[in-house]
């Protein structure tokens, strides 16, 4: 298959603007600025069925169409480069290797929704990535591709990077907006939606890095071409992040709908140490886990993964082999959400900590059978009752790990210790 989002693997130094230009760079932007009306751009993206890659899979063209036409207020575009979902590392490589692909996507989006300023919200830890991206912006500015007169069109677009400072919640689009405004990243109640009242009270589109980098391809090659890749309702090239107990972890570009079994055993080279597969989280740590039996039947696109009982999220595929202590794995996940809960809504602020405390006890052999019921009940009480979905992001793994690996949880209670540590072995480290 032709590499699209990862073509830097075929083209050395694609991050340099001259190399990028030599490979049809900014051709789509030129087309969008000179040959297309904003509505035509939105229609093309709508027709492509491109869905957001940041986790929620919302149709991108539709999101753009919510921006009021001829808004008296300025319109903003925000590029979400706060990639923090555990198990996800696609945006990072895109920022490092194909910054102009992202900038071009931003330019087209700005043209489509009538925005003249875009903030690229980059997680604080992406210091090197920010340097690379800022250098690419400077190159584009020097060539008149961004700035007061984009490629001579008379349309101005300024792009600024905005560095976060360590908070997972900034990846949530309204948390991102609050953080951009210099506040604690407390997600906002909706309504109003960002398309009406986003950054600085103005209409705003927030799109993920990977989403935006699909846009130039759709403009260049058309919606029909795009829809021919993978399932029609959820098409396109997709970046899969393969991690955990796998022989060849890493970033892979594959068509949507690629079988998870092949991803693990063919692309990923199978389970580390020749052990048996125990479970796979298909979309980043926020989503339900698949058992080995479930995993081998699933195709990796938004709708198929949903139908199988999980979500594809950011396609952070985490593989766990038979040596993994699922209690410890879940405790690690719970710690993350407890640590990252912004603390605004009661159920999330209190529930994430409660769940982690129960799991610490269970793993240490101090848990009770009642704790297993409480885990499910507390997770249920958190779910769907908060401003953003961070609470659900812990609720979903809890509600899948506990019933699917119930015997293992019960063993921890019965033996009053972690059965995986019998011989002093580490419970998560792969035997290799």
């Amino acid at each position: 298959m032709e590499r699209i989002l990862t073509r830097w693997l075929d083209i050395p130094n694609l991050r340099d603007i001259d190399v990028y230009l030599a490979h049809d760079g900014y051709k789509a932007a030129r087309k969008a600025f000179f040959d297309m009306k904003p509505e035509e751009i939105i229609d093309e993206v709508k027709n492509s069925n491109l869905r957001g890659r940041g986790g929620a899979a919302f149709p991108t063209g539709m999101k753009w169409s919510f921006i009021p036409k001829n808004s008296p207020k300025p319109v903003y575009v925000c590029c979400n480069a706060d990639e923090s979902e555990p198990g996800t590392f696609a945006n990072r490589y895109q920022l490092e290797n194909d910054p102009h692909g992202i900038i071009e996507g931003i330019l087209i989006t700005c043209r489509a929704v009538g925005a003249h300023v875009c903030y690229v919200y980059m997680r604080g830890e992406f210091a090197i990535q920010k340097q690379i991206f800022d250098a690419a912006l400077a190159q584009a500015r020097a060539k008149g591709i961004i700035g007061p007169d984009v490629m001579g069109s008379g349309f101005s677009v300024e792009i600024y990077t905005h560095r976060g400072a360590g908070a997972y919640i900034c990846g949530e689009e309204t948390g991102l907006l609050e953080s951009l405004e210099g506040k604690r990243a407390y997600p906002r109640n909706r309504p109003p939606f960002p398309a009406i009242q986003g950054a600085f009270g103005c209409p705003t589109v927030v799109n993920n890095v990977e989403t935006l980098s699909n846009v130039p391809w759709i403009i260049n090659r058309g919606a029909d071409w795009y829809k021919s890749i993978g399932p029609e309702k959820s098409p396109g090239p997709k970046l899969f992040c393969l991690s955990g107990h796998i022989n060849r972890p890493g970033l892979y570009e594959l068509p949507m709908g690629f079988p998870l079994k092949d991803l693990i055993y063919e692309v990923g080279g199978g389970i580390l140490g020749g052990r048996k597969l125990k479970g796979v989280i298909p979309g980043g740590s926020s989503f339900p886990i698949f058992t080995a039996e479930e995993a081998v039947k699933v195709n990796m696109d938004f709708d198929s993964v949903r139908a199988a009982g999980s979500l594809m999220g950011t396609a952070g595929v985490m593989v766990m082999n038979e040596d993994t202590c699922m209690v410890r794995a879940l405790r690690t996940i719970a710690h993350f959400y407890h640590h990252e809960s912004c603390g605004q809504c009661t159920p999330c602020r209190e529930g994430t900590g409660w769940i982690e405390k129960m799991l610490i006890d269970l793993e240490a052999g101090c848990g009770t059978m009642q704790d297993l019921d409480y885990l499910i009940s507390v997770a249920t009480n958190m779910e769907g009752n908060t401003i953003c979905v961070l609470a659900d992001s812990l609720s979903m793994p809890v509600k899948s790990f506990v019933p699917k690996y119930k015997d293992e949880f019960i063993e921890h209670v019965k033996q009053k210790r972690c059965p995986f540590r019998a011989n002093g072995a580490q419970s998560l480290r792969a035997a290799s």
């Binding site: 945006n91 300024e158 210099g182 740590s285 993350f336 900590g353």
Partner: protein, 208 residues
């Protein structure tokens, strides 16, 4: 992503290393120079809390990017951390006055984001990812190894002010796990106990 120290996370059945405590105690007792350094090596009380002219210029340039002054708070705090090493109360107050924001708001923001240092950090800050994908590839051994080598627990700084060790959350390097980030900048990936031991030795040589 610095972990907030939290007693509740401590395993109730206990698996803390007794010897780590002993080593720390001895290190602290034997250390003659307890002063902590800024990342640039200067002493805490040698600099007045005020931006340099160059940083002030940068600050004014950044203000121009946003429709509100407050939006420049995170970039300004980054400049402050670069300039002063960490965000002390005095720095918070300085930023508040500079930006004409309530001091309590500045502090509220500083304390929300884990990358702003609220105490002086070591010359070398090792942030080890301890999230699930890294743990599945041995992050716990890496942390243990560093803890033992440096004689400190995650969340602490060596008595000589050379190293800080922190457990952090996912840094988007799961395909090359386990990994650590040095001084909020460089990623070190596919770590092994040997590679981190060598890294610490190399860094220790560089400060002395």
């Amino acid at each position: 992503m610095v972990l907030v120290p939290d007693e509740s996370r401590r395993n109730t059945c206990g698996e803390r290393s007794f010897w780590l405590g002993v080593i720390r105690f001895l290190q602290a007792a034997l250390s003659t120079d307890k002063a902590l350094h800024y990342a640039d090596g200067k002493m805490a009380d040698q600099k007045p809390i005020e931006f340099s002219q160059a940083t002030l210029k940068e600050y004014r340039e950044v203000l121009g990017r946003y429709p509100t002054r407050q939006a420049a708070l995170l970039p300004t705090l980054w400049m402050a951390q670069r300039e002063f090493g960490w965000i002390s109360e005095e720095v918070e107050d300085y930023v508040a006055r500079l930006m004409e924001l309530p001091a309590a708001h500045v502090r509220a923001v500083v304390s929300f984001y884990t990358m702003f240092y609220r105490k002086p950090m070591g010359r070398w800050h090792l942030e080890v990812c301890a999230n699930l994908p890294c743990r599945l590839r041995g992050a716990e051994q890496i942390l243990d190894c560093l803890s033992r080598k440096l004689g400190i627990e995650p969340g602490e700084t060596t008595a000589d002010g050379k190293f800080s060790l922190t457990e952090v959350e996912c840094l988007a390097s799961c395909g090359t796990a386990p990994m650590l980030q040095l001084n909020h900048e460089r990623f070190y990936e596919n770590l092994t106990p040997e590679s981190v031991t060598n890294l610490v030795d190399e860094l220790a040589r560089r400060v002395s």
